[in-house]
């Protein structure tokens, strides 16, 4: 017991003095891994210390009064009720303290907002409910989804170490490079936040905002979407892998290779069974959060696909809805998110799963054609 109290006492002492030690206890900001995060950490400790000192000073006076100036001790009330000198002093001194705080804070603000001279630039887009990373210098683009299985969330299996903070495809950056991130969103406002890197920037649909970081240590850094973006807001984590320069280069080469392979799929023709099998995976990753694994949707919020007019109607209309979405609703446009092969697969899956026994299939070529058609249809509408 005694040692436990001592330990917690030491934690509190550590809170004020030694930043890197205490972060492990989860009482303070995460261990900083970039210069900005480090500055913020120091700034926060400084301000906490000032607040703590003022708090103790003011409330020792109050508690002294509560103990000593009691009626039950026979204390008679004094009659003073103003003192200009004292009142001026306790207006001016806080003002000076505040300006003392504002100076280091302003320096950090100016540093944070300076996104010039980056070594590389990555465009990050928030979607309901995943992120995409677009490496503008290396021509890589991919999506990053929650990797925690639903069984863990529902509690039917034990939760893993990185429960809710793991993704299928992390963002990968080289250590010690100045990375500029351009942040936007596709549907609603999201916020890209990695605490250890000191970056939190809202992604605003239709606008691009920027921020930057320079990771100083190799490692894995985890964060989450920080702006309420609908029902799966708690389930769109961010993972940044900071790797050595060499590892980064080999990762880029590997990524470019898989991109070529995926592009080749768009020129193939598949059997229905192949499309259904592939489509089920695409459906689980992109559609099931709203329309549910059983295709029934959520009454009042998300429409069913099982037995819907779209999935059992003309296939061209079905493809169009998946490509263009339904503006003004939560149904996103998947034209830019999925490849021709993936859209063909998911449409085929939706038309053949559950009670939708349509038996037909969409091939990647049809999607490519519909994309062209969509562009032509959009052009006159815009005039």
């Amino acid at each position: 017991m005694n040692s436990k109290w001592q330990r917690s006492g030491m934690r509190w002492a550590a809170l004020a003095v030694s930043p890197p030690v205490l972060a492990d206890y989860g009482y303070n900001l995460q261990v900083p891994a970039s210069s900005v995060a480090h500055d913020v950490f120091q700034l926060h400790n400084l301000i906490m210390l000032v607040c703590l000192v003022i708090f103790i000073a003011v409330f020792s006076v109050m508690f002294y009064s509560l103990l000593k100036h009691r009626k039950s001790l026979g204390h008679q009330a004094a009659h003073f009720h103003e003192n200009t000198t004292v009142e001026v002093i306790w207006t001016v001194i806080p003002f000076i303290i505040l300006m003392g705080m504002a100076y280091p804070a302003a320096k950090v603000v100016i540093d944070m907002k300076d996104t010039s001279n980056p070594d590389m630039t990555i465009k990050i887009t928030g979607y309901q409910w995943k992120w995409s990373y677009d490496y503008l210098n290396d021509g890589i683009r991919y999506y990053s989804n929650l990797a925690t299985p639903h069984e863990q969330i529902d509690g039917t299996v034990a939760k893993g170490e990185h429960y809710l903070l793991e993704v299928d495809e992390p963002m990968v950056v080289p250590v010690g490079k100045r990375v500029r991130v351009l942040i936007t969103a596709n549907d609603v406002i999201h916020s890209w936040w990695v605490p250890a890197l000191g970056v939190k920037q809202d992604g605003i649909p239709g606008f691009i905002r920027d921020s930057w970081f320079k990771a100083d240590t190799i490692g894995t850094y985890r964060g989450q979407c920080a702006e309420l973006c609908g029902k799966e807001h708690g389930f769109m984590p961010i993972v940044v892998e900071v790797v050595s320069e060499d590892d980064y280069k080999s990762w880029v080469a590997k990524k470019q290779g898989t991109a070529h392979a995926a592009a080749a799929d768009n020129d193939k023709t598949f059997a229905v069974a192949e499309l259904v099998a592939r489509g089920e995976k695409v459906y689980q990753a992109n559609c099931a959060v709203c329309h549910q694994a059983n295709g029934m949707g959520i009454p009042g919020a998300f429409l069913p696909i099982n037995g819907s007019k779209v999935a059992t109607g003309p296939i061209a209309d079905h493809i169009r809805v998946v490509l263009n979405g339904r503006p003004g609703t939560a149904m996103a446009a998947f034209a830019s998110q999925l490849s021709d092969a993936d859209i063909a697969a998911v449409v085929t899956y939706q038309r053949n799963a559950w009670d939708n026994k349509m038996g037909d299939a969409a091939q990647p070529a049809a999607i490519a054609a519909a994309r062209g058609g969509a562009a032509e249809a959009a052009a006159p509408a815009a005039q």
Binding site: G26, Y27, H81, T91, L98, A106, K113, D202, A301
Partner: protein, 526 residues
């Protein structure tokens, strides 16, 4: 009491209808004050139950009790109802009861409008609560209603907009009434600088309401037309900007923060001198500090939006103005401490809640200062640190002052002393419960837990469990409060006119319970 009413019939007062009609048609400031307070109390239990459901779901990682969408409905409605249905009506209830009594006025300036201001509220309350039953459930876009998320929702989102409009109307009319009463109906001799501090804070609050409620109405109307009539105020594809909503909303929203706390300052400034048996220290500086806070509150709104991305100059401007608010707020805390200093203190329940207010509100003030520092705010924005901060300000701030005020004036209103033992139980359980819920949230936020999430990573489990435990202690201890009030209405020791030994002011010169009509002839104050 009824004799008194009949005796005045010849002055033009009609006999009161009985039963429901009495309350529906009443124009009496005391009746309407009670209606506001009861409405607020019922809503406290409604929105409090939502909070308990939220905390129960967050007791452990994983989804157990509710679905994510319903979770968002709960957080949204909890926020909207606590702000517009609990804290604001409770303060208006206090204003209705106390402003005429404190100023020696016979009633509010516009008694019929007063009735209308109140009866709009249950309509808005029903709109909000019933939206849970609609297809798709209640609105789930957060109480801040940010587009484009808010544009996506179903019919209940329109009902929420309508409810906000109605509550805004009610607040504007209430404020007009309060300002007119204060400026025109003071008894001879009560100059502005002799008004009780509670009246001063409400005068300033009422101006804030009149200035900002129309702004909110404009913002939600734009949401309404974006949702239903194809306008694009907040849609970039149509030339609009989602961030513009946030600017307009917080131009209302930050003064709103002070609407929720200035009357609390007023209540506490009545109670602390009473139980210190010493006049309020620095009355004039208290008035100036309140006015400065109100004026500064119009220049700080974008500190709610540092993570949106702003030019350096804007970040520095909003950081500095926000930090500046700490100066007048500090003056107030110093004044309260100086009022207690060398007093003759006793610790009845209203005083206990007021002392807890000063201490815990200051913690909320300090976390506010931490959040004012733009770079730190960018780390903490939309985390549990912010949840901890605004609950310290609104629960141990606004709500505790309401508790304090009820205990303070209840004997005057009912004519009976409340049960002091039960009151102390209520106080200690509330203070312990409240700190157990909200203090660990600071650590959660610092460690990186975002707010408004229905499920969380494993390292946040311990503090969430502590918080949930505290929430249930705090929630259920409010039943004691209900018992105290009901007991005091039914009976108890007779309260004297001047209920508290150190009490000063006109309300303590009328009998307890205060007769239905008071000050029909203005008292003269020297």
């Amino acid at each position: 009491m009824s004799d008194a009413a009949h005796a005045h019939d010849d002055h033009g007062h009609h006999a009161r209808p009985s039963g429901v009609m009495r309350w529906l048609t009443t124009t009496n400031h005391k009746d309407i004050g009670s209606l506001y307070l009861w409405f607020s109390f019922i809503m406290l239990f409604a929105a409090g139950s939502m909070a308990l459901l939220i905390r129960a779901e967050l007791f452990q990682p994983g989804m157990q009790l509710v679905q994510p969408d319903f979770f968002n409905q709960l957080t949204t409605m909890h926020g909207l109802i606590m702000i517009f249905g609990v804290i604001m009506p409770a303060f208006t209830g206090f204003a209705n009861w106390q402003v005429p009594l404190m100023l020696g006025a016979p009633d509010m300036a516009f008694p019929r409008m007063n009735n209308w201001s109140f009866w709009l509220l249950p309509v808005a309350g029903i709109l909000l609560m019933s939206s849970f039953l609609l297809p798709g459930g209640a609105s789930a876009g957060g109480w801040t209603m940010y587009p484009p998320l808010f544009i996506q929702g179903g019919i209940s989102y329109d009902l929420t907009i309508l409810a906000v409009h109605i509550m805004g109307l009610s607040s504007i009319m209430g404020s007009i009434n309060i300002i007119t009463t204060i400026l025109n109906m003071r008894a001879p001799g009560i100059t502005l600088m002799k008004m009780p501090m509670f009246v001063w804070t409400w005068l300033i609050t009422a101006y804030l309401l009149i200035a900002t409620m129309p702004v909110l109405a404009g913002a939600v109307t734009m949401l309404l037309t974006d949702r239903n009539f194809g306008t694009h105020f907040f849609n970039a594809a149509g030339g609009g900007d989602p961030v513009m909503f946030q600017h307009i909303f917080w131009f209302f929203g930050h003064p709103e923060v002070y609407i929720l706390i200035l009357p609390a300052f007023g209540i506490v400034s009545q109670i602390i001198p009473t139980f210190s048996r010493k006049p309020l220290f620095g009355y004039a500086s208290m008035v100036y500090a309140t006015a400065s806070i109100a004026i500064l509150s119009f220049t700080v709104w974008a500190h709610h939006m540092f993570a949106v991305g702003m030019p350096v100059a804007a970040q520095l401007f909003f950081m500095l103005t926000t930090m500046l608010i700490a100066v007048p707020t500090g003056v107030k805390v110093f004044n309260w401490v100086a009022t207690m200093w060398k007093g003759s203190l006793t610790f009845e329940t209203p005083m206990l809640f007021s002392i807890a207010f000063v201490c815990l509100f200051t913690i909320g003030g300090f976390s506010g200062l931490v959040l004012a520092i733009a770079p730190v705010d960018i780390q903490l924005q939309d985390t549990y640190y912010v949840v901890a901060h605004f609950h310290y300000v609104l629960v141990s701030g606004a709500l505790f002052s309401i508790f304090a005020g009820i205990y303070f004036w209840l004997p005057k209103w009912t004519g009976h002393m409340y049960d002091e033992t039960l009151g102390k139980w209520h106080f200690w359980l509330s203070v312990i419960g409240m700190n157990t819920v909200f203090f660990p949230m600071h650590f959660l936020g610092l460690a990186g837990m975002p707010r408004r999430i229905p499920d969380y990573a494993l390292q946040f489990t311990d503090f969430n469990q502590i918080a949930t435990l505290g929430a249930f202690i705090f929630g259920f201890s409010q039943l004691i409060f209900l018992a105290v009030i009901l007991k005091s209405i039914k009976g108890g020791a007779r309260a004297p006119d001047r209920v508290w030994e150190g009490a000063e002011g006109l309300e303590w010169t009328v009998p307890s319970p205060a007769p239905y009509h008071t000050f029909e002839t203005a008292p003269v104050v020297k």
